[in-house]
Symmetry: C2
């Protein structure tokens, strides 16, 4: 390991370009994308995307897997995803005007519930975090940590497989939500919660975007488990109410 100064400018430079940043933001959905998909998403030519993606892979932010005539690209890992979300949360907002009704709906849905690499983000994720706290499953004393009741809940809700050893706690990290500017759960717990909510049919991954929708079953489950009111479980209405 050559013992030189860390080249912050080189790493930041990888993300300092509209197309490359757009790629990374898109890949925050945790899935693998092809070159063509990413190029279309960012609105650049495929040849341009190829060059950018080469840089991102060389720089270690992305990994690639070549299969046949396809090249699949993913974020290199959850730490990379965290770095990007961290940056996104602190970045200035570029005021992109709403162009259509579907645009407004999509934006509202994205702010409500979306994938953040391997866990849930958006106002729903914040509501779940708050609900777990209010129900005494999660404590923020010192650091975020599951209470004994929280551990028991994981087991009865079948989120944790089998009976955990005494003293066991899942690894918790917090992730700064860039739409809510508040913390939601990430780390092993956040990922396990998300996986469970999908397999149990509480959430459905609607399409190719990061948008997630809460099913009727999910709404009922969250109301029952965490006592979340319906107001917290629906995207905000676009009416004229204050």
């Amino acid at each position: 390991m050559p013992d030189g100064h860390p080249d912050v400018a080189a790493l930041a430079g990888l993300l300092a370009e509209r197309s490359r940043a757009a790629f990374c933001l898109a890949l925050l959905d945790g899935h693998a994308w092809t070159v063509t998909e990413l190029a279309r998403y960012a609105g650049v030519a495929v040849s341009t995307a190829t060059g950018h993606l080469n840089l991102l892979v060389e720089g270690g932010l992305l990994t690639e897997e070549r299969r046949g005539r396809h090249r699949y690209l993913r974020l290199a890992g959850s730490d990379t995803a965290e770095l990007i979300e961290n940056l996104a949360a602190r970045a200035p907002r570029c005021p992109s005007p709403v162009r259509s009704l579907t645009d407004a709906n999509r934006r509202r849905a994205l702010a409500h519930a979306r994938v953040c690499y391997d866990h849930l983000a958006g106002s729903l994720a914040v509501a779940i975090t708050d609900g777990m706290t209010a129900s005494g499953l999660l404590t923020w004393q010192d650091d975020p940590r599951l209470t004994d009741r929280g551990i028991a809940w994981l087991v009865t809700a079948d989120i944790a497989k089998g009976t955990p050893p005494p003293g066991w706690h899942p690894h918790i990290r917090t992730c700064l939500d860039w739409t809510e500017q508040r913390l939601h759960l990430a780390g092993a717990l956040g990922a396990a919660l998300y996986r469970h909510m999908v397999t149990a049919g509480w959430l459905s991954e609607t399409g190719p975007s990061r948008i997630i929708t809460l099913t009727t079953a999910g709404r009922a489950a969250l109301r029952q488990h965490l006592g979340l009111p319906d107001a917290a479980l629906a995207p905000p209405q676009g009416g004229l109410s204050p």
Copy 2:
């Protein structure tokens, strides 16, 4: 608050330039620097530095305070410092060859003990973290957290002022050390420890750089409090031993 996409490229772009990155790295010492000092440090003309610093202030990464004919610049806050250290830890190393003996000494000293905004970093900081863990003051069960003995130690060592309320824990964050590639203590505890070690005369801030030296009193105190061996308390020798 305009509800647009986060402009990651804009934020990253601020750090994607050698001079600007150098400024931020220098300011990680937590002190305020003037334009001329930063220009000299980064090896650019003062006029060039002015332009860069304007951008960094506008972008919210730095704050300025104008006093007379001086303009003092600091990092905007501890969260900004963490973002930069985070980036530095993941950034590739640019192999800058050692040019002189003083160069080598400075590099070794920097890797051994340095300021990281408001807490200590380097192999000494990692050794202290390890020592506190081995002494049962700190536990990594779940999350890093002081044990009851750790809390008591803070009080007897006079690091925490007065008697804390029952159930109190100082806020702990971890910071990825870019020379050691291991975690050391940051957050409120890291900052309190550092302040105490300086005021108690265990550490001395030698000069204008981030380098910190451990005093004789500090060496004795750490041996007594945490049982750290002398080998962990000195910068590695540059000899031929394997």
